[in-house]
């Protein structure tokens, strides 16, 4: 366990994941942890540091570059009584394992008449910036939410990262745990006590009566930045941090839209087929009367992410476009007001600490 977990409770998102894993493995000897690089010097951006030393090489191990088989191995180990926690350094690599995810993990409980549980957690890191490009930065969370039997979580804060990872490992179902690379160094208070919180509960990150902004993962931070800016110009937003993408917390969304009458869904995936679309669709069909103006969604363009620094500028959703859209929904012309909300420079790194390329 990181030395400093007790003394100071400010942890990075990555440290929070590390702490959750240590606590889960200490509490439950059936938890095992594997994935490419979990025992290497990089330790998956530090998230798996110290695990092998603490729990031994039979519970914590590196693996061959065999994503599909290793997902099936997790299923087999799970139905025989273990709780595998598997990590992929990029979500993109996990595309090799869709058969095992969809045809095995998601269905082994249901299609054998509930004889088995499949308590697997699969950590998927979403890349971004510094030339990650078309095959190292895909945001395919919408795919996972379309598959019955899977749960999908996507924390924003370090505390939620910890709580949701513990909950995911505990959960008797396969859970995809999505980590945006830009969150790993985010620092915040993290309670030391394990808090095996519920999966499926959204968090209201900002409160306001004018617009409901639904976001998740890294984009929650951009939404909060936008909301804080908008407060300054007299527009108050509910920012809903979904935390769990499947099953979605519809009551939280419905309640907020009932109050605001305005819905904006923000998504780091490609627009068409995004979860943002799912949110708009469900609210439009089930809460039509609550909508005062046309709902909006902001997502990535339907374009593979290019690599060049020159091309990623303007490619992603930032707080500026969220705020601009919000202003338009309130009947203002966005551009004039946005002076104080510039895009960060350089646009392809999460902060000064980041020196590329991972």
């Amino acid at each position: 366990m990181p030395d400093n977990t007790i003394a100071r409770r400010e942890l990075t998102f990555a440290q929070a994941i590390n702490e959750a894993t240590h606590q889960a493995m200490a509490a439950d000897p059936t938890v095992i942890c594997f994935g490419l690089g979990v025992t290497d010097p990089g330790a998956i951006f530090g998230t798996t540091r110290g695990l092998e030393e603490a729990f031994g090489p039979s519970r914590v191990f590196d693996m061959p570059t065999s994503e599909n088989a290793m997902t099936g191995v997790a299923v087999g180990a799970a139905i025989a009584g273990l709780k595998p926690l598997m990590t992929h350094q990029r979500l993109d690599f996990f595309l090799l394992a869709m058969d095992q995810l969809v045809n095995s993990a998601a269905k082994w409980h249901y299609m054998f008449g509930c004889q088995f549980n499949v308590p697997i957690t699969i950590r998927l890191i979403i890349g971004r910036g510094w030339g990650q490009g078309p095959t190292h930065s895909q945001n395919l969370q919408a795919w996972f939410t379309h598959i019955p039997g899977l749960k999908v979580v996507m924390p924003t804060t370090p505390a939620d990262a910890k709580q949701l990872l513990l909950a995911s490992i505990d959960d008797p179902n396969p859970v995809l745990f999505l980590e945006h690379r830009w969150l790993h160094n985010l620092t915040d208070d993290v309670p030391e006590q394990p808090t095996h919180g519920l999966i499926g509960k959204a968090r209201v990150a900002r409160q306001g009566d004018d617009i409901t902004i639904v976001a998740s993962g890294y984009l929650t931070l951009e939404a909060i930045r936008a909301a804080d800016y908008l407060t300054g110009v007299g527009i108050k937003c509910d920012v809903i941090d979904l935390r769990t993408l499947s099953p979605l917390d519809w009551p939280a969304i419905f309640k907020s839209v009932h109050k605001t009458g305005r819905l904006m869904a923000v998504d780091s995936g490609a627009l068409t087929g995004s979860i943002a679309g799912e949110i708009i669709a469900r609210v439009a069909s089930e809460r039509f009367a609550d909508l005062k103006v046309a709902p909006r969604r902001l997502a990535q363009p339907d374009v593979p992410e290019p690599t060049s620094f020159g091309l990623t500028r303007g490619f992603h959703i930032r707080s500026r476009s969220i705020a601009g859209s919000a202003l338009e929904m309130m009947g203002e012309t966005g551009d004039v007001l946005l002076g104080q909300l510039p895009d960060p420079v350089p646009h392809d790194v999460p902060g000064d600490w980041f020196k590329g390329p991972f």
């Binding site: 039979s58 599909n68 290793m70 099936g72 273990l82 008449g113 509930c114």
Partner: protein, 322 residues
């Protein structure tokens, strides 16, 4: 167990598997079993051998052609037939059908209709056994076609890297649906040799010779349980009926002329009976009671399956998550 006892038990086991499949074939045209069925008639020897060598605490997974493996591992007959009938009493509560059979109590952990899909699952079972310190084996039934899926190599490699107690039982029946090996694998390919090169302890077995199958399976299971690492058994065998369904399909000419007949002449049940005759058994009197017992068991299973209610859709909908 004397040789003689072994042989009689193998014969009984094969007969049971054969008669169950024949009963399914006979009832299938009634259109009450409304799901694809892949029968194993002709391929009984490896399963029968397995049923004698395996222990209840061993684990197993299989494929679309899984009836015999399910039964051989000790899976309950009634729930299997009920499953094929889609009934609430089915082993998978009617959700899986013939292609998705499991009997957890018997350590039979599932079958998959996706070629190759259950292979890594079986290796994962082996990983759990190892980590839990249980001296048992995980058994993975596959066909020759499954060795064309990359996941087979990935799974075998991991099993060897970790020295897992996994036994791969490959029934090479030379066809994948209608496709002969020649359009799928190079001439001269030996699945056993490939397995050896991957680091599996590998043996080739005459899949019509139930006794040879028994000794090979027994040795492999013991090795795996004893920490000897993953094992690979290739059984040369043949399916007599169509790939999917209850009929003969030899008229479609996708097999070599005479190929089926030459395999039928070495039908594993006939072969063993012939051997037993040589050793002065009065087979007709010994086998008749076995056949009757099996018949009764099968009739009960079908009658109960036919009489059982369909499952409830609402309940089914609620069971997506554990």
């Amino acid at each position: 167990m004397t040789d003689d006892q072994l042989e009689m038990r193998l014969l009984g086991a094969m007969l049971r598997l054969r008669m169950v499949e024949e009963a399914i074939a006979a009832h299938y045209p009634e259109q009450e079993m409304r799901c694809p069925v892949h029968l194993s008639i002709g391929q009984e020897a490896p399963s029968a051998a397995f049923s004698l060598a395996v222990q209840r605490e061993d684990l197993a997974v299989s494929t679309h052609r899984g009836h015999a493996h399910y039964l051989a591992k000790g899976g309950a007959l009634g729930p299997m037939i009920a499953e094929i009938y889609g009934k609430s009493t089915g082993c998978s509560k009617g959700r899986g059908g013939s292609m998705h059979l499991a009997d957890k109590d018997a350590g039979f952990m599932g079958t998959s209709a996706i070629v190759g899909n259950s292979i890594p699952v079986g290796v994962g079972l082996g990983l759990a056994l190892q980590i839990q310190g249980r001296a048992q084996a995980s058994c993975v039934f596959i066909g020759d076609g499954a060795t064309e899926e990359g996941v087979y190599y990935e799974s075998a490699n991991f099993a060897v890297v970790k020295n897992l107690p996994v036994v791969f039982l490959c029934e090479n029946n030379r066809y994948s649906v209608y496709s002969p090996l020649s359009v799928r694998q190079p001439e001269g390919r030996s699945l056993t040799r490939v397995a050896t090169s991957l680091g599996l302890t590998s043996v080739e077995v005459d899949g019509n010779d139930a006794i040879a199958c028994y000794h090979a399976v027994d040795r492999a299971l013991q090795q795996a349980r004893g920490g000897g690492g993953p094992q690979f058994l290739e059984f040369h065998t043949f399916r007599h009926l169509e790939h999917c369904g209850p009929n003969d399909d030899d008229h479609l000419d996708y097999r070599q002329p005479g190929e089926l007949q030459s395999w039928q002449q070495r039908d594993p049940i006939d072969l063993l009976q012939a051997k037993l005759l040589l050793t002065n058994h009065d087979l007709s009197s010994e086998i008749q009671p076995i056949r009757e017992r099996i018949s009764n068991e099968i009739e009960t299973a079908f009658a109960e399956a036919a009489a059982a209610p369909f499952p409830d859709l609402e309940e089914c909908m609620r069971d997506v998550y554990a």
